[in-house]
Amino acid sequence: MNLVTAINQAIDIKLSEDPNVVVFGEDVGVEGGVFRVTEGLQQKYGEARVFDSPLAESAIIGTAVGMCMNGLRPVVEMQFSGFAYPGFNQMISHAARMRNRTRGRYTTPMVIRMPYGGGINALEHHSESMEALYGHIPGLKVVIPSTPYDAKGLLISAIESDDTIIFMEPKRIYRAIKQEVPEEKFSIEIGKAKVLNAGTDVTLVAYGAMVREAQKAVALAKKENVSVELIDLRTIYPIDRETIVNSVKKTGRLVVVHEGPTTFGVAAELTAIVNEDSFLSLEAPVKRVTGFDTIVPLPRGEHHYIITPERIHFELMKTARF
């Protein structure tokens, strides 16, 4: 099963279980989404539950907030994460705050799904990775799966969560990774990172499409006898501090990989965390292998921007040998 199918299944299961779940967004109904993630769901559950909205992201998120206040659990789609910004005010000012504002009287159990990230040879605005923006907003949780299995389990948790979840989908690997995934319902706890590979020399943290690249880098490092502990962060907020810190206490070294810009990015926060909780264990500076502080170049320039296993390897080895 690939990521698209896994996400589709997660939504399907929740639609069938819970009549309060509704799914909407641009082109998600008849067409099943431009990436076909919601394919077949309108046919199965009808137009009242899975439907196309007019083209307006602020409205998609804002009406979802209202639906939550009146008993529904919307799962909405932003066609690409680069088009979510018109909905930023509703996200930050309401989806993230309604619970606190009303001291828990109104909650916003909604999921905002959005494909994100580069590597698909797309036009401007179709390749960005701005998860750190959402992570900085009090009241939101931010989840990024890297495998079909995790996507299904995490999305089911997200739909069941009483909080607003930004669910960012690494579109580059929508169909690139296949995996055995149980057909039935299961869930994975939000807020837990996963150690994918135990190691002793360096800790490597990645998420989303970068996990696969990181895995390749781990293999390259192994050839040079460097043992890498690879962690898939999975949740960008709240961060699983414990898993990261425990690993760094063991390895003393940390390399973080992500697609988004360096400055004020996720790697900076992880640096701060290990600095706070494993300062005395640190044997080398934390290395950020991240996107530049630039806009993602159009396809012909994207190879300059995109992070390769080789680049991770290069920095891993420098950190290991610091």
Binding site: N100, D162, D163
Partner: protein, 361 residues
Amino acid sequence: MFKEYNPLDDKLFQVIDKDGKILAKKHMPDISDERVIQAFNDMLFARTADMMAVSYQRQGRMFTYPPNFGQEAISGGLAVVMRDQDWLVPAFRELGAWLAKGASLKEIFLYFMGYEDGTVFKDAKNITPIAVPIASQLLHAVGIGYAIKYRKLDSVVYAIVGDGGTSTGDFHEALNFAAVWDAPVVFIVQNNQFAISVPFKKQTRSINIAVKGIAYGMECIKVDGNDLFAMVKALQEAAKLAGEGKPVLIEALTYRRGAHTTSDDPTKYRTKEEEETWALADPIDRLRKYLVSKKLWNEDSEEALLAQFKKEIDRQFEEAENYPAYALDDVFKFHYADMPADLRRQQVEYEKFLQWKEARK
């Protein structure tokens, strides 16, 4: 009615004139004299509370307050029409409507004293909290409306916004979504002719606000917002349509007789003459004239009533003033269903500082 008062001709729907005389008998809403007297009472109470809020604020006992002075007939009309199962989605200048929906004055005071608790409206049913980002609440109204339809409930949403709010993208998106979704929403624009200092004519070039409904294929009407009867009638008709899945846009023409908030000085941007002209159209004075002419109201007894109101308002204000201190826990605990470990840790760390501080004393 919507045809008769076509906003394209800039017609204004009125039922009584400035002297309280009936202009359009056939549009007189079907409500009892008692209900009208009750509405007058409510409007008077709201105004009294409003005035007192301004003076509490001047005394430094509240942080800020947005006066409703002059706009009472809009909330007054809503109070007549709204049912328990209906939703109210207000902005931030809706004292009468909040009270009508079951919010307590004490809560409202609490809010402007700086407690989130004051916007929970604990005992009020189907009311959304005070919305500060202009017009953003309209989208919530549409989502609530969608859920009403989806859940097959018998309910209508009343969503309020100001004239300034009509310039925002959210206004447009909300009305459009409501129409496309057949959502049972009545949009009420309180056109008090100013957005802080910016007059209506700098906000838009449309002949009025009501015509904006045409852009969404919506029924729309411009109503004298200082005329309780016109408001009631228009809201009743609108509610009927909304209940059938036809959202409606009502422009309620009024005038903000007070300042934008207690930190605003309207003399910077408007003339005394204008203020005086609008004073003549005051909604409470007009309704009083109507009631007196119908011998339903005795001006002499009004004073006693006001005294009673003041006492009640003072009592609630004092209750608010004696509200428990804001607990540290309350800064942290409402953000998520389960508090993330990092948030908890931030609180614990802060408590350590407080202990140290305490110990140093």
